[in-house]
């Protein structure tokens, strides 16, 4: 097996006395979509926050291409090629969809300490933004202020921004939440396409979508990994079924 591009070892995060993530070891490879599922409060979003640097970990390590990135700030991790989307839409509401993505694409320039040339004059940046918008299915909506877009479209902007930073590793935190059926289908198709040359870690509650796209599944319960393996194994796992049924959170 090739060395994983993103890998955690015994990753742990405490909130006070509560272990939101405890001893989690997961890996992502390019060409593979790794879905993390589990009941609410299992620690899935916290795991993503630890991987992206939004939260510091309490223990364990994160490696990117074999390099230890534990404790790096979110902006450093982002520039190393790890992009993330947020469960709760986290965009720039007063800006247009295009401006949101242009700002995201601009982050790939070596520096934005450029005070004179207009931002609109950077052709490559604008093109990257435009591409991301089309990929997320927002063609024709570029000029609209994000605050005026529907909730579903704002979710698409969220994903387009992540894509505009041209990441190798994608951490997607419930990308389908709040999307209509048509957009959902579109994003599922997009994820399948992106899997070819990206490593994707997906947290999602829509089990139909998860089983349609995932190459590997990790089930988390109470901050710990319950089981990890290919979809067929997870589907037939008694422990997983019990965990879900036990919490009364029937998704499978």
């Amino acid at each position: 097996m090739p060395e994983a591009i993103l890998e955690t070892r015994e990753l742990t995060r405490y909130f006070g006395g509560l272990a939101a993530v405890r001893g989690v070891s997961v890996a992502c490879n390019v060409g593979e979509l790794h879905a993390v599922i589990g009941p609410n409060g299992a620690g899935k979003s916290t795991l993503i926050n630890l991987l992206s640097g939004d939260l510091p970990s309490s223990g364990g390590s994160v490696r990117l291409r074999g390099r230890d990135i534990t404790g790096l700030r979110a902006d450093r991790i982002s520039r190393l090629g790890v992009g993330r989307s947020y469960q709760k839409t986290n965009v720039f509401l007063p800006f247009t969809a295009f401006e949101n993505c242009r700002l995201a694409a601009q982050s790939r320039l070596p520096s934005s300490m450029r005070f004179f040339k207009p931002a609109a004059g950077y052709g490559a940046v604008s093109q990257a933004a435009e591409r991301a918008l089309v990929m997320a299915g927002l063609e024709g909506r570029e000029g609209a202020t994000v605050a005026a877009l529907s909730h579903g479209e704002q979710r698409q902007v969220e994903i387009a921004m992540t894509l505009a930073t041209n990441p190798v590793v994608l951490l997607l935190d419930e990308p389908l939440a709040g999307m209509g059926a048509e957009e959902s289908a579109r994003i599922v198709e997009l994820m399948q396409k992106l899997t070819k040359d990206h490593a994707i870690l997906l947290v999602e509650h829509d089990m139909d979508a998860v089983f349609a796209v995932a190459d590997r599944l990790t089930v988390m319960v109470n901050g710990q990994v319950l089981e990890s393996g290919p979809p067929a194994q997870i589907r037939s796992s008694r422990a997983v079924q019990e965990a879900y049924l036990g919490t009364g959170d029937v998704h499978v």
């Binding site: 982002s78 242009r102 995201a104 004179f116 609109a120």
Partner: protein
């Protein structure tokens, strides 16, 4: 884009009016408008922080004042300082101070940022007030205005109020155009992003601290330019130039005119000083009606005086659509 064209036309008319003013106005008027333009530069510099970067500073006078002090202290006793040396020197000094203060205060956010900027400016105020540096609480006179000679040729004479007026006008227009360009640049996009959602900027890969610091330094240097010009105009510096009262006044100008636009702080500075002048001529207790006017604007025009114009043009656009 019709609103934009109207704004541009209005700006050109204002610029023309400012250009012909010294030829028709009396000395008092010319000097008063000079003062208004200096305060407008000061207010624009603060708006870069408050309106664009989202950093509400209550210590901006520190950079205004330090620059005046740099001029006063670098002016030889019975000679004039050189304008071309002392202005960059004063602005650089304000920039260095902003760099040092910025490194410390930008580690906190929100109401704590307001508090620590205030605290630093007050420390500086008392440093000049309580020690003997530059005349202590009495301040220090600048007997001769800076000399603008370059190798024996003197393009203008700052001792003449008309010449000084045009120098201030040129710098006022230059600062306006400079900020317009900067706000459209990559840097301008980043600080606007930081204003709206700093956490997301970080997760997009921007090291936001250094952009906030650059904005803080830039704003400090431009405030320094205003402070320098003010010291030249009045020929005196004193600790009040660094005090919280002035920091509060310029913040009020920005809010009164409208944050987050370049025209806003200009309108705010002009309006506040005209109101002050008007109420002063009516009553000794001018601060009472002044306060009332500010409360009214804050209540009725949450986007400041410029909100009045954009409100109308937006309604018209909606009606046209």
């Amino acid at each position: 884009m019709r609103g934009g064209r109207v704004t541009a036309a209005a700006m050109i008319v204002c610029l023309l009016a400012l250009t012909v003013l010294p030829f028709i106005g009396d000395k008092f008027t010319v000097q008063f408008v000079t003062k208004m333009m200096i305060m407008a530069i000061f207010a624009m510099s603060l708006d870069l922080l408050v309106g664009y970067t989202g950093l509400v500073s209550l210590g901006h006078a520190a950079f205004f004042g330090i620059s005046g002090y740099i001029l006063a202290l670098s002016t030889p006793q019975y000679q004039a300082a050189n304008f071309w040396v002392s202005l960059p020197l004063a602005m650089a000094g304000a920039g260095v101070l902003a760099l040092v203060i910025g490194c410390l205060v930008l580690r906190v956010t929100g109401v704590y940022f307001i508090m620590v900027t205030l605290a630093f400016a007050q420390m500086l105020h008392y440093l000049f007030h309580d020690t003997g540096i530059a005349g202590g609480s009495d301040g220090m006179y600048i007997y001769l205005r800076p000399d603008a000679s370059i190798l024996g040729w003197r393009p203008f004479d700052l001792e003449k109020f008309g010449d000084f007026y045009f120098v201030v006008l040129a710098l006022f227009v230059a600062v306006f155009l400079f900020l317009r360009v900067v706000l459209r640049s990559l840097f301008g996009q980043v600080i606007s992003g930081v204003h709206v959602n700093e956490a997301r900027m970080r997760s997009l890969g921007f090291p936001t601290f250094r952009y906030k610091l650059a904005s803080f330094v830039l704003a400090g240097m431009l405030a320094g330019m205003a402070g320098y010009l003010s010291a030249v105009q009045f020929g005196v510096v004193n600790p009040d130039m660094l005090g919280w009262h002035l920091s509060g006044s310029v913040l009020m100008m920005v809010i009164l005119g409208g944050m987050g636009s370049l025209v806003g702080p200009i309108v705010g500075a002009f309006a506040m000083m005209l109101l002050e002048l008007g109420f002063q001529s009516l009553t000794k207790h001018w601060q009472l009606p002044m306060g009332l006017a500010i409360v009214l604007v804050a209540l009725l025009l949450p986007r400041g005086l410029v909100g009045l114009v954009s409100l109308r043009s937006r309604n018209k656009e909606a009606a046209d659509a």
